[in-house]
């Protein structure tokens, strides 16, 4: 399936873009991240959380949406 991945803040600075599409045939967030790390090895050493369907999810979560977001630490307020 085709996944849209969104990047924010420090993460977008590393990937040099705000979003992109990946072809992905696996099941879990974890597996998908391996694909992303191949393109952006620096993300492996960078702290971020993953959001799916507007919720932070663990990396063992099954991908059910076509949009995934990588979120660096929050700094609101």
């Amino acid at each position: 399936m085709q996944l849209t991945i969104k990047y924010f803040g420090l993460i977008a600075e590393i990937t040099k873009r705000n979003k992109e599409q990946f072809e992905f045939s696996g099941t879990l967030i974890n597996e998908f991240l391996e694909t992303v790390y191949l393109k952006y090895p620096k993300l492996k050493e960078t702290h971020f959380q993953v959001a799916q369907n507007n919720e932070i999810v663990s990396k063992e979560t099954i991908i059910t949406q076509t949009e995934i977001a990588l979120l660096p630490p929050f700094a609101g307020g």
């Binding site: 969104k6 924010f8 803040g9 420090l10 600075e13 959001a51 507007n54 919720e55 977001a69 979120l71 660096p72 630490p73 929050f74 700094a75 609101g76 307020g77």
Partner: protein, 147 residues
Amino acid sequence: MKDKKPKNVFKEGAISSEFIATSIEKHQSKTSIGAHNIFLGQVRADTIDNKTVSAIEYTAYEEMAIAKFHEIREAAFNKFDLNCMHIYHSLGKVNVGEICMFVFVSSPRRKEVFKAIEYIVEEIKANVPVFGKEIFEDETHQWKVNS
């Protein structure tokens, strides 16, 4: 005044004192209110390694942020006896000394507003995907992390 539709709380740039004043004034017709509490976040000129912050540029995962603001709003209305609640957060560049967040709660009684304002602000800090790029006077930057 509770409503069920998510509101867009984001505002481009700093939140002005006139905007805050207008918001206060709008509550004067609500005569069951006895206490308001307002929290304002202001951009601080922090000094890190001899460099001083001159502005923060805010971005957000807007769709998720608006959903989270809505959840926080609903939870606060359920937990506390509030007449109204307003939340505004800046996007884009906010200079030091300017206001980047405005949270406003009103209740018949004061005890409720103290508990509510702290709850809402802490929930926003912890759960809303807003990102802040601290821009130093020499144009370099670092990414802010809430503590």
